[in-house]
Symmetry: C2
Subunit: 412 residues, 2 copies
Amino acid sequence: MTDYMKEIEGGIAAAKGFYAAAHAAGIKYQGRTDMALIYSEAPCVTAGTFTTNVVKAAPVQWDMRIVHGDGAVRAVVINSGIANAATGSEGMAICEKTAEAMSACYGGEKDEVLVASTGVIGMQIDAGRITAGCPVLFEKKDHSAEAATSAAQAIMTTDTHKKEISVEVTLGDGSTFRIGAMTKGSGMIHPNMCTMLGFVTTDAAIDKKLLQKALSAIVEDSFNMISVDGDTSTNDTYVVLANGLAGNKLIDSENEDYARFCGALRYVSIYLAKQMAGDGEGATALFECRVSGAESVPEAKKLAKSVIGSSLCKAAIYGHDSNFGRFLCALGYAGVDFDPEKVDISYESAAGKISIVKNGMGTGYDEEEATKILSEDAVSVLVDMHRGDAEATAWGCDLSYDYVKINADYRS
Amino acid sequence: MTDYMKEIEGGIAAAKGFYAAAHAAGIKYQGRTDMALIYSEAPCVTAGTFTTNVVKAAPVQWDMRIVHGDGAVRAVVINSGIANAATGSEGMAICEKTAEAMSACYGGEKDEVLVASTGVIGMQIDAGRITAGCPVLFEKKDHSAEAATSAAQAIMTTDTHKKEISVEVTLGDGSTFRIGAMTKGSGMIHPNMCTMLGFVTTDAAIDKKLLQKALSAIVEDSFNMISVDGDTSTNDTYVVLANGLAGNKLIDSENEDYARFCGALRYVSIYLAKQMAGDGEGATALFECRVSGAESVPEAKKLAKSVIGSSLCKAAIYGHDSNFGRFLCALGYAGVDFDPEKVDISYESAAGKISIVKNGMGTGYDEEEATKILSEDAVSVLVDMHRGDAEATAWGCDLSYDYVKINADYRS
């Protein structure tokens, strides 16, 4: 947290002019909410990053066309339970009908409405249920923190808790704007641009190109640095809506105001990315890897991601087992040509810090102490490559019995 | 199996002039054998492929120098329990002392002796125990099938069964040669060039360059097409020793004899690779993916490896759950730019075959039938990309509770 930014209540509806709602539409789940709405009373400029998987869900295709176009956006309709992926032209028609149903509620155009889906791939959504849900959501929409939280809950699938955050930023001239955000995602998480869905609302007035530039850069350091299982989803979506109602001077150059906007968006994005990694399917711990002393940032990222992505490293964290050879091994196949005999490794957590490897070899550390440090619910493996000054951090989770349990029969 | 080749008994000691032995040296395990010897009564030409991990175990470094040099090889000394990786100059000294101890047994040179280790990374091997084991092994060496099997057992770590095979090949002029082989490997298996160790002996007379050429090509289609957990080990080694005692006409050009040698080496290598994949840590099933209709073989390989490497696909196989969206998803992030609406997917096993996806969408198949097919102990997912004529097959295993159990506390 910096001096120009503070956390506030309000989640996805914290920024001026934004509303949220949730509804139990019976898309697939029974006895819980499964549709959410984000609505802005004023038109929004948007920026987005989407899955790089060539199998792109219908809503991803729908949103990419709109976000990368010139038109304004007023609403996002989200459902959980079914991903609307591998659904062909019928799936695209569902997106269109949903957007039509929502835009009809406020007398707008279908191309002002983004849609997003998460859940099982290969099933069709019932068009009647999702379109009937739209006016219900519109009727229930509210600017309250409670409404925001209900939306953050409705978009969850295997997530064990909601993920939302909001901040208020003060600019140089004393004006303020807000950013609210929510995400979901727990499995099929290996964002290259994650099955994550993420939404950010802001009342900041900002130019569309700068908004996209900020988002694209920040995603590289946040969501693209987490992995739960190495599977890049068909539905990954991270979208920012900016409606300009804060009344700040339009951010249209890379000035100090832009720097503060980027700082706040980065804070929000990294917070949510870490929440998602720590809530990975079956996870008992957030597993962070901080690499320093790399020759370049891309190199540092490759190394950090290789460690948090390794099944064997993840299983060692689950077992609180200081099997440091696995960390060395994962660094070794990251695709970086380094001298193993210069590598140092430490562990850090709320229980303390301990040096494990020095110059590529075990330090003869105290196993009991190491186990204690690895037993916390957030554990960091610190790697110093001694090759340069570049750093990067990646976040994942441990690999537990429950990951297997959840995924061996996810559909039932 | 072809008309020129038949399976025979004898394993790693099946070929003329080769001997095997096992010994319980107490390297780390108690109450089991943990050292093995392969010995040839005549000098061998050798070929080898080794891990691409930049963290290379000391024995890998020792062997690479010898195999890529000009000298002949007489023996391989293997231990399980400790990998001799991340062990610095002390680790290299252990390799040298082991080779010295073995070569002293038959009055040869240390550079004629390969060494190989598998087990925990980061621990030192006790020099006294491993060197004391050498003369015991040399004394016990035998040309029998029993001795070969004892060696194949001694090199196991988390493997649940030994992996060995031997074949006899008849050449055009009626002469014959034999190939014997053994491997180990169950976790940290993602060969790019796998913690697999693999050894092949043959009495064929073959030129060293042709031997390496054959081995390098065949590894690409066998060991490099399997994955248990995506972790490329520090110790992966696959070595062929050819002592020429079969009396066949020296294979020194890419003639029909060479083709038969390659056919036999390929058969042996794919057999062992599939054995290793099916015996992946915690595995209950061999999980094969056959991709056809790709534009090129490298493309087909990428797609097949992406499917068998996906944690979510592996968990679905464990659950006998026809969650076909996961297969589509894994194809989608393989790094191949294809049209999802042309993809067909079927399942095949001893219980039958069923079409699951046609043109990128579910076929409305019988779920009960699909579950039955996925419940066998060897399951194939067949993918037709409809882009060209190229094919590839990759092998992995399902992801079970036991994988987590084995790896959460492997060291104890």
